[in-house]
């Protein structure tokens, strides 16, 4: 099973609220990551986002499920700004894993 989530459909074309993103991740992504073959986060038609939203969606996903989750997740339809936000959120998740191991 593969799940595909359209962020433009679920949030609109402008994404700015990290709390909404975190709620969405907890409800729509986290429970399925382990049992799905893949998760497509489809940013097609999303024009803008900020760090709050993308961190809320992606950083904790990596932190909780580890770097291996990235083999299952596809980021689709990202414009260049969204790509920077996704890369940074992933790095933040990895940094938090590193800190946890260090601790």
């Amino acid at each position: 099973m593969k799940i595909e989530l359209s962020l433009a459909h679920d949030f609109g074309t402008h994404l700015a609220d990290g709390y909404e993103a975190a709620d969405y991740r907890r409800g729509r992504i986290d429970p399925y990551v382990e049992i799905c073959e893949g998760v497509v986060l489809d940013f097609t038609r999303v024009r803008t986002a900020n760090s709050s939203f993308v961190n809320g969606l992606v950083a904790a996903l990596v932190e909780q499920h580890g770097a291996a989750v990235l083999r299952k997740v596809v980021f689709k339809g990202c414009n260049p700004v969204l790509k920077v936000l996704v890369e940074s959120a992933i790095d933040l998740g990895l940094q938090k894993i590193d800190e946890r191991v260090d601790a």
Binding site: A16, A21, A67, F75, V81, V84
Partner: protein
Amino acid sequence: MTIALPEQLRASGLLPSVSRLGDTSKDCEVVLDFAKLRRITPAGLVLLAATVVRWRQAHRNVTFRGLKHCAVTGYLQRMDLLKVCGCEWPEEFLRHESKGRFVPVRLVDHRVDEMGNEVAACLAPGGEDYEHPMAGLYDLASYVFTETANNSRQHSAGLAYVAAQATRAEGMVRLALADTGVGIRGSFALAGFPWSREGDDAHAILRALGARVSSKPNDPNEGVGLTLVSGLARITRAWLLIVSGTGVLRISDGRPPELSDLPNGGCYCGTLLAMTFRERDAHGFARLLHNAKVDAGLLRTPRVAINFEP
């Protein structure tokens, strides 16, 4: 208490007025005299809006005087300052489309994402299209507004107001937000950070600029909003002013932040942020954001493959 506004109420000379307006004396009557005012920018507009609203919330009776003789009363009306402050004054002009020129004073409500689009589209018409020449300005305005507005809504426990203006002739964009909340140090104090009770406001602002510093434990936003807003200000060589409590932080011309206190022992009950940047420096927002994140330690050399698909 009567407060006579100065000739100019713009971000670069704002601080004495912030102190004056932040006077915490308990007068029930406040008269704001506009007679001498000749120039006001978005920073001055949101300062007045947030201050008057805070006074009204404290049941202080606020009267506006001198509007008949004020050189910019029409502008104050067009920017909706008088409306936000509950002052009725007859309009003697036709309202023209604001798109491409200014964002009137508006309450930052729960629709931060939609407001981000509206503010950005107003300052950078056409930028909604990612390939448009205005796209960089659109992205920068949307990013700065949404991150700052989120801070006001999620941390300040107060009301926030935004205003902005693009002056095409000089190629400058001015964006300002002011809230009536607890201030940056106050939000850290509410969250129980012990250092916030001993430190001063200016250092609390500086601390909030650090990466992954948030006044909310387990903040899903990860506390990078002001970090990146200030980083973008440095990279674009913009002018940034943050006032909170008695503290002031300024960044200009790409230099490190400068801290000070408000003059005359002043205090602003809330947080005010004003940013002025050149349109031409906002091009290529993806690269600017990438560099700001690298500078802040929020984006290291990739260690894993990321599956991006068109």
